[in-house]
Symmetry: C3
Amino acid sequence: MNLLLKEIRHNPLLWLLAFVPVVFAAAKLRPEAHTLLFVLSVLAIVPLATLLSHATESVAAKTGDAAGGLLNATLGNLTELVIALTALRAGEYMLVKASIAGAIVTNTLFMLGASFLLGGLKHHVQEYNRVTARVQASLLFLATVALLVPSAIATADSVGKAAIVQDLSLGLSLLLIVAYALGMLFSLKTHKEFFASAEHADDDEAPWPMVLALATLAGVTVLVALVSEIFVESVQKAAETFGMSPAFVGFIVVALVGGAAEMASAFAGARKDRLDLSVGIALGSAAQIALFVAPVLVLLSYVIGPTPMGLQLWPGAVVMMLIATLTASLVTSNGRSAWFVGVLLLMVYLVFAMTLYLLPPS
Amino acid sequence: MNLLLKEIRHNPLLWLLAFVPVVFAAAKLRPEAHTLLFVLSVLAIVPLATLLSHATESVAAKTGDAAGGLLNATLGNLTELVIALTALRAGEYMLVKASIAGAIVTNTLFMLGASFLLGGLKHHVQEYNRVTARVQASLLFLATVALLVPSAIATADSVGKAAIVQDLSLGLSLLLIVAYALGMLFSLKTHKEFFASAEHADDDEAPWPMVLALATLAGVTVLVALVSEIFVESVQKAAETFGMSPAFVGFIVVALVGGAAEMASAFAGARKDRLDLSVGIALGSAAQIALFVAPVLVLLSYVIGPTPMGLQLWPGAVVMMLIATLTASLVTSNGRSAWFVGVLLLMVYLVFAMTLYLLPPS
Amino acid sequence: MNLLLKEIRHNPLLWLLAFVPVVFAAAKLRPEAHTLLFVLSVLAIVPLATLLSHATESVAAKTGDAAGGLLNATLGNLTELVIALTALRAGEYMLVKASIAGAIVTNTLFMLGASFLLGGLKHHVQEYNRVTARVQASLLFLATVALLVPSAIATADSVGKAAIVQDLSLGLSLLLIVAYALGMLFSLKTHKEFFASAEHADDDEAPWPMVLALATLAGVTVLVALVSEIFVESVQKAAETFGMSPAFVGFIVVALVGGAAEMASAFAGARKDRLDLSVGIALGSAAQIALFVAPVLVLLSYVIGPTPMGLQLWPGAVVMMLIATLTASLVTSNGRSAWFVGVLLLMVYLVFAMTLYLLPPS
């Protein structure tokens, strides 16, 4: 507990934890103040995500290489998963899908681009292990292809398509999970010598003891789930107030909120010239969302959603994912980076953000 | 003749030759048993394709480097050509096109992917000559672009498009054949030192004498043509019985049947750590179908088809070809492979196969 | 003045200057002879563009590295800019856009491809600095993405889209100019050691004195503007006479005319085994048109056009740009070239040219 307090004092992001009780109080007292609740829940989720990420890494560090890698690979995006599950239970499938696609695009373009830029402003040229980048980008490419197909079918006007899209989504979801599992087998087991030791944890800090880590993991997950409920309820109405389209909210705002903790680690790594870490977090997190979180949500929608959810997205989202994946592939193909590479990635992200912001709220 | 019998005894695939007389007998006795005829004709084509491929290589080996390369490059996909010609004469243009697109996708994803996987399960990391892969992938990319254009125009709804698409198909076909010829000039003549000696023939086996090879070439081509007729007639009805969509049959089943002989060689090469051979067969065969077989079929449709056939495909097929070509380009760009690369290619193939299987039989 | 005359005697292209007075005379005497005026104006623009390009380089050579690079980077496509401005003032937005997209595609495929082919016919294998190629190709990719988005939105049928497309075009134009400026900062300033000294000027020739260069720059720009007016007025009617579709004229003819001077330099560089020069001119010019000329035209359309012009293109043009950019990226990724690489690029260009030629004049 002492360690936890020390961590909180050490890391300014965690001071935002004060907003956790505030948001619960506000939700009780003024349930109709959507904009306020939206802002407060965002401020509360960011530090919780940071704690969650630290706890996961601590457990991973204790359980050894393979098991730890597996844990990080499945729980690394717990915040995104919990937010998406809350939206899934509420039947907000559009928000679920926008947040998935948005998280993939945001991690591939914004997190990677800002890491390259921040690192490049300090270091003239940076090198990193491109094998990791290649494997993650390949997995992302596979996931994009798998998401493209049901979307293309769903767009084509024809009767009786809904059932086919749903069957296909189920099959593809299983395929993606298998591909993700094999990818872990490859990078953690059979060919691990090719992969840099891109640990998520910052090794300057000692990991927490097991009990603290597990308790934090459990407790904070519950808190994230509770705050997410307020977030999901308020986000749509708040967006209207701010004049943002729902696509912009799901794609950009939710993705940035959910990924705040990982971004902090990725950026810190880049500044310390440990770009392996940054690339691993950015692309690894995107691949995890595409090949693990998204399919798991499809499977869970059969259990907890009002109706089964398919994998199909609206055409624009698929195009953005495709471009993001292709850009990441091209950019990481030679394992070197300078500030301008970051600028290019951020520019592509800005093109998308600008488009989504201006789109009509249809 | 003795050599031929020895070969048959040596190679279990060739035992299937017994099905050749059976399929002819069945076609005479029970011409309405489509499903049976379909199965029998598949079982008969596979060993015939193997013989054809061996005979071509023997002739090529005898006629010296350049002429042999040329022969291999034009007759290497004789089975696919004969099947497609039979379908062309019957006016089954949809089947012709599906089998062309399917052969390209199957060779690029399935044959290459399975080679990487099978090789990778035995050898930790495999290297191959990436110049060959680059040139073949570039030719495939060009062919995909050439197929994309008339398809895009044919899709756009407008009057008087049919004539334009036909003119364009004729022009593009000639262009593709010229590109293919120049590609051979480049790899067999002007810059041959950059290309690995990726002979199709397995050099453990002695080539057949010229007379035997030529006689086999002639005789087996006639047999393939006769069996293909039964195959083309029965395939559509049989597909209905099995609950397969026509797209699935043309794209997947025909492509696997037509390419069985080459797959056997490619997989054997990969197991023996001769990945140059496997990559050469898989991508070379795909390039040949795209830049030689397909345009030749368009040209021949003016002579033997009921009406001229264009190059346009349905949009989904073009997208699959584009993704397959792009995937092959990305994957072969560094000349190294491990089992997971094969898994990725096979997964993309599975996504396509699953989609085609579930598609409505519209 | 003596130098100018010597230059003219030295360079056969400049003998075409004789057509400059001829075209003005013809426009006065026979203003309705569109085909004649079209041919004459083309013959007059080519030598003017050559002079303009030489003058720009001379000024650049005198003003030192960074300022010179900046000048070359902004005035390098002055001919294209002046032609497009004339069309813009006349409200011929379709022609403006076709010539922009066409210049990008022509530079990336035809100029680069012909350089590789011409160089490869003389030299077995040629090497060049691939860092330059990578940065230019990345900038082109960003521009293509930025052009894709408003085009996709403009295609989707929906009310109230026009205003959004216009706002978006304005935002994206500013973004592209910023990206272009940062790209120059990167290649001319912070990381210039990675870029080959790909000067546009042929260093065999001495640069002109400053006064002559500036006077030529000013005088010839006025002449180009005057001839462009005749060109833009006559081009559409002349196209009908020749049986060419307007898309073909804008995309192919205008692009070849506007880029004639640069092509002469690029081809000469390739023959002298200075492929850095050729690649720098071809891709640099394409990037400049996409990230500087096009956005500047959008901004200027608010001032001098009848109505604001957006960035959206028709879908086919975006697909061609995307394929051209992708092809250039793939082809230049390893910094080596042989004649066949040139053939491939030219073939893709031929596919596009053939399609545009056959398209109905809708």
